[in-house]
Structure formats: C-alpha cells, structure tokens
Symmetry: C2
Subunit: 213 residues, 2 copies
DNA sequence: GTCTATAAATGGATAGAC
DNA sequence: GTCTATCCATTTATAGAC
C-alpha cells in the first residue's frame, strides 16, 4: 500500500540475482539474508528454506515461459519474424539461467519440479512443431513428417542448452551477443528447408546477424 | 603386483558410480568412504578432498575423449560409418555424465578445469568441421562455408547436451535407447545436406534406427 | 513481521596411533 | 596405508522476545 516492496519479493529478487551470478549451489540462505540486511530467522519466516525459494522462482519462470511458448501456437508467424520469438525465449531462459546451469542438481532436491519442467520441455517441442507446420502451410519451408519431428526436438534442445554451450565454450561474457548468436544458429537450423537456393537464405541470415554485433 | 586393486583406484571407481547415480552435489566424501568401507581419514590420505577426486576423474575422461575426437580428424569416414563415431562419443559422455549434469557448479569449484573443458568443446567443433569437410570432398554432402561453420557448432552442442535433454524431457531411463536416439538426431542434422532427394535419406535413417529399438 | 540467539546436523579436514 | 578420534566451518532450522 505504501509503495514499499514486500520482504518476500525482495528475497526472491535478491536470491535470483545471486543464484544467476554465483550459481545456486554456492549461495546459502545466510548469504541471501546478509545481502538483504535481514536476519536468517526473518528469511525463514517467509520461506521454509532454499528449496522453497527455488520453487517460488520456478513458479514465476513457468508462468512467463508458458505465455511466451503458447503465443506462436495460436497465430502464425512469417519466417522473418520467427527470430523475434526465439529471441524472447532465450531472454527468458537467460533471466533464470541459474536453473538451467544446475538442472539435475535442482531437480534432485526439488522432485516436484521435475514433471513440471519436463512438461515445459514438451511444450517447447510442441511449439516448435506448430511453428514448422505453419511455415510449411505457408510454403515458407518444405519438409517431411519425419524431418519435422526430428527438427522440432533438436529445436527444443537448442533453445534449452545453447546459452550454456556458448558460455562454456567461449570466453565470451556479453549476454546479448551470446543470445544473438543463439538466434542465428536457430535460424540456420531451418535454412536447409527453405525452398530455392539454400545458400541465398544462409547469406541473408549471416549478413543480418553480423550487422547486429 | 598381487592383483589387489589399489585403494586409490577403488575410490575413483566408486566415486564415479555414485556421482553418476546420485549427482555429484549429493555425494560427500564421507559417503564415498562409507560405501568403500574405508575411513574418511584414509580417503583423505589419497585425495585432498572431493575436488581432487573430481579432477582425477576429469583427467581420465579428458584422455579418453581426446582419443575419440582425434580419430576422425586423420582418417576420413563414409557417411554411413559416421554414426559409429557419434555413438562412441555419446557412450563416453554417458560414462562421465555426472560432470555434464552439473557443469557450471563443478567448474566454479574447480576453476582450473574450465579452460581444459572449453578446449574439449572446441576440439569437438573442430572434429565436426573436419568430418563435414571430408564428407563434402567425397561429394557425400554439399554445403557452403557459412553453413558448415554453423552446423559444426550445433553438432558440438548436440553431442554435449542431447543426453541430458532426453533424460529430462522423457521418463525414458534406458540409456542405450537414449543414446540411439541421439545418434539418429545427429544424423538427421546432416540429412538436409545430402544431395538428391532429401526425404530418401531421412527414411533410410528412420527405418534403420527404429529397427534398433 | 522482524529480530536475536541458539540448537541441530552435516560435511570437510587433520593429528596421531597402529 | 589405514584407522580412530576429534575439530572446525557452514548451513539449516527453530524458539521466543520485540
């Protein structure tokens, strides 16, 4: 009411920032409380423990990513506009990257998140399938059923792990460049299925994304 | 000499098994010692701590995967035989999957492994590039320079993260089927660049791999 | 809602005997 | 090389005052 941000929300915000920066495993509840300049006891009043914080953060993430992933299922996008969708997905994952950086560890300690996360992966795959189907209906790409299925899986995996791959392989730290790179790679997955001279499309993409950096 | 396995090696073997099963973060030095029925003090005689164990395991992995990845750079493989190479890479990663399941966490605590791991990723990419180049020379595929670069990156990422993606998305636990699936997906990445009717090659792959299960 | 104080549990690490 | 015993640090978690 007074415009003062609630402690609960401050905890979530700070925890997210710390998790992303230092890695979830390296951050203790005491540290979170310390940064916020509140007592550990106070923190435990709001959340039963670190797992509860993680689950609350996952709630946020789940809701946002669901909205993003559901959008393309209803309306159909042109191939040129698809990169915006991919971009948004990467941004969303980037905002909650602590989760993706320690997937198995977190899912082992928060078992109830496992089926929910699995469902998100399947939604990603469905969205990819849906996009590909609509692109094909518009004649923007041509591919067989088997190709579409396999491509959709790889697409979902790409969206899920590309950011991590680049941060590990290169010393690159500029998140925006990493994301741009991921969008370019995603579009290059589709390129071979665009009718006409394949290399034309590839060149267009290359020029476009190298201009971005 | 007497045929008795050295304690040091038993520690490494047991640690690897526990790490893969329960996740590295969930396994303590005390637990490893407990399973081996040796004292924690004894374990600390052989390794300064858990990090030392992890680094020793990484030494093993690094040596093996280097051999695997270096092989195709020298000799050139036919496209039909390439899947064997991919299969071996997946098997190797599968054997040390604890590492891939908590990449960022481990690299934060063992900073000296970071550049070594980054180097492996780059080697993966070089190997992929080399394979694609030789396939093109043989006329087995045709693609532009930009396509080849992008494909090699995605290929490396696929090899690195596919196993994790499938274990998370599906409830599938049969590691052999997961690996077969990964090989199929990898081959489907190359399929569009095979000259002639694309869908022919895709169908061949599909039949071949569905017969495997 | 928030604090202080403190309990309880765990995991990492070492000293010294055998 | 291996064990027992023990210590220290960290983290989670709770009780009770304000």
């Amino acid at each position: 009411m007074t415009g003062k941000v609630k402690t609960r929300d401050r905890i979530l915000k700070t925890a997210l920032a710390l998790f992303n920066e230092e890695g979830e495993a390296q951050v203790s509840t005491v540290e979170i409380a310390g940064v916020l300049e509140i007592s550990p006891g106070n923190l435990y009043y709001h959340f039963k423990g670190k797992e509860a914080i993680i689950e609350a953060l996952f709630d946020e993430f789940e809701e946002e990513i669901r909205q993003v992933l559901s959008a393309p299922i209803n309306r159909s996008l042109s191939i040129e506009d698809n990169w915006i969708f991919i971009y948004i997905v990467f941004e969303e994952i980037n905002d909650f990257r602590f989760f993706y950086n320690n997937l198995t560890g977190i899912l082992e300690r928060c078992p109830n998140l496992r089926p929910r996360f699995a469902k998100l992966l399947r939604l990603k795959e469905e969205t990819a399938t849906s996009i590909l189907a609509s692109l094909e209906q518009d004649g923007a790409i041509t591919c067989s059923r088997a190709e579409r299925t396999a491509l959709a899986s790889r697409f979902a995996a790409h969206l899920t792990f590309w950011l991590q791959f680049v941060s590990l392989a290169a010393s690159e730290t500029d998140r925006r460049r990493i994301i741009n790179n991921g969008v370019y790679s995603a579009m290059m997955m589709i390129a071979p299925y665009v009718p006409g001279d394949r290399s034309d499309f590839a060149e267009i993409l290359k020029d476009y994304f190298s201009a971005q950096n």
